[in-house]
């Protein structure tokens, strides 16, 4: 399968691989996917007192596109507020990485991982999620 140069770059030089301490109050952890399907993504965010994502880490079991998708989103969420990070859509990820149609599910998983990490952080801080951003959800191929 021919991958785009951006996928190969993220795959060969993945950004922000690693783990934060799950118990740390400033950390939110999202784990999505299943080994039987061939993809598992773990995304962690570290959030400061202003509600801004200061840093992010990932670990991914999956194909090159899955690794590239998670590497890319760790870059994208940094410096964003939780609300803003929550608006990242799989279509943007797929477009940035020029994912072929059979790999669209990797970008969907990356979007789910961000949402799961944000939800985990909010749950631990007893913060109710603000009203959902009024934006049509991107198609999930």
């Amino acid at each position: 399968m021919a991958y785009s140069n951006k996928v190969i770059d993220h795959y060969e030089n993945p950004r922000n691989v690693g783990s934060f301490d799950k118990a740390d109050q400033s950390v939110g952890t999202g784990m999505v996917g299943a080994p039987a399907c061939g993809d598992v993504m773990k995304l962690q965010i570290r959030v400061n007192s202003q509600g801004i994502i200061e840093d992010a880490r990932f670990k991914t079991y999956g194909c090159g596109s899955a690794i590239a998708s998670s590497s890319l989103v760790t870059e994208w969420v940094k410096g964003k507020t939780l609300e803003h990070a929550g608006t990242i859509r799989n279509t943007q990820i797929a477009e940035e990485l020029s994912l072929p149609p059979v790999k669209i599910h990797c970008s969907i998983l990356a979007e789910d991982a961000i949402k799961a990490a944000i939800a985990d952080y909010r749950k631990r801080h007893g913060v109710e999620a603000p009203a959902p951003v009024q934006e049509k959800k991107a198609a999930t191929g």
């Binding site: 795959y11 783990s19 784990m31 996917g33 299943a34 039987a36 061939g38 993809d39 090159g64």
Partner: protein, 402 residues
């Protein structure tokens, strides 16, 4: 060392330079149609075709008259299964095969089901071998044909075709063997085996692509309904002008296989065992299929907690596959490994290394080092590996399947 390193000899092999050299004059100089009986051009090529037929027959110890040329193993399997089923359909409509067969067999069986035949697909044991008792239990009074591969293309295990053939003969069913992956890898003696039909390919044994053969037993006589009609070549089994240069290539490739099999296999076995020992130095690796009943050139390994496609992408200096070449474009885990009872995770994590005549020990050593480093890198990136290291049983986790 030349990169990438080729370790995918079960997908195809290079044509041996000695084979290529022998083929060339039959493209330009000796171009006659072997069916032309009226002049020297035809006589010359007919002689070459018959010499090649004898060379193929010699490798598998049968009469040269039993060999029918085809375009490859896929066509041979189609002719054997469809040809026998159609000819013997008044005798019965039941066939037996195995779930780990090549798609050429499985898909032909599906077509026969569409034509009204009934097919039993047998399970294999966890080591990839067929349990003879399960075969015995699958026979019906109307079973006309059994088809089993001698050597599996993904895991390289060798089925006991001598015992299977004896069981088929006792029940009065014909026995077809797909030997595409077997020639030059393990001895085949058709005088001793109770095999009625056997399919061969040239390009898995250092011959050219596009040529194969089907062994059709004459004593006791096996009848087939032809699948390609025309000038009545090859005793009416397979019409079409013979591809002399391809046939000459297959003959020479099989002659070399016979002459060099013993020494080649010993050398390749030593390299495979070196590769195996190197891989066993990595934690959490699983060998797929029996190591005892296996051809010397195959090693199929699952690297737990690493996804196969990403590993193949990581080892781009090494040409390997995660299954058969025919299915490597799909995202499905290998159906052969699933049939061994391997979990989806392990089936997703497999790599097939197949060594061959031109593999060197330097290439094997490079492969071991390269694999070790890449597996480690991918595991450092794998949340499953992290959980495994924390002592979490992955089977106890509630995953959200997607």
């Amino acid at each position: 060392m030349k990169f990438p390193i080729y370790l995918d000899y079960s997908a195809t092999t290079p044509v041996d330079p000695r084979v290529a050299e022998k083929m060339i004059p039959y493209l330009t100089e000796h171009f006659g149609n072997p069916a032309s009986r009226s002049h020297l051009f035809g006589w010359k090529t007919e002689e070459a075709v018959e010499e090649a037929r004898a060379q193929v027959a010699s490798l598998v110890n049968c009469d040269a008259k039993d060999i029918v040329w085809t375009s490859g193993a896929t066509e041979s399997i189609n002719l054997a299964l469809k040809g026998a089923a159609e000819f013997y359909k008044t005798k019965g409509k039941h066939l037996i095969t195995v779930k780990t067969e090549h798609k050429a067999t499985l898909d032909t069986c599906r077509e026969l089901e569409r034509r009204g035949f009934e097919v039993t697909y047998l399970d294999v044991e966890p080591d990839g071998l067929l349990d003879l008792g399960k075969l015995e239990a699958a026979f019906r009074p109307d079973t006309i044909l059994v088809s089993v591969m001698l050597v599996n293309n993904e895991i390289g295990v060798i089925q006991d075709v001598a015992a299977i053939g004896a069981a088929c003969r006792k029940r009065g069913a014909l026995f077809h063997v797909d030997a595409a992956q077997a020639t030059g890898k393990c001895p085949i003696d058709l005088q001793a085996l109770k095999v009625d039909l056997m399919s061969f390919s040239a390009h898995k044994t250092y011959g050219p692509k596009g040529i194969g053969a089907l062994y059709v037993r004459r004593k006791p006589r096996v009848r087939l309904e032809a699948q390609i009609h025309g000038g009545g070549h090859e005793r009416g089994f397979r019409s079409g002008t013979l591809a002399t240069h391809q046939i000459v290539g297959m003959g020479e490739a099989f002659r070399l296989a016979k002459a060099e099999m013993a020494t080649d296999n010993e050398r390749i076995r030593a390299l495979r065992d070196r590769l195996l020992a190197g891989m066993q130095g990595i934690e959490e690796v699983f060998i797929n299929g029996s190591l005892v009943h296996r051809v010397p050139h195959n090693l199929n390994i699952s690297f737990n907690f690493v996804e196969g496609e990403s590993l193949i992408m990581a080892v781009k200096d090494i040409a390997v596959s995660s299954g058969s070449a025919c299915t490597s474009a799909s995202l499905e885990p290998s159906y052969v490994l699933r049939a061994l009872g391997r979990s989806d995770e392990l089936a997703h994590s497999s790599i097939r290394f197949t060594l061959g005549r031109f593999t060197t020990s330097e290439e094997v050593d490079y492969t071991i080092q390269h694999l070790e480093a890449k597996v480690q890198k991918l595991r450092e990136m794998s949340p499953l590996w992290e959980m495994h290291k924390e002592g979490i049983d992955l089977a106890s986790v509630q995953w959200a399947a997607h």
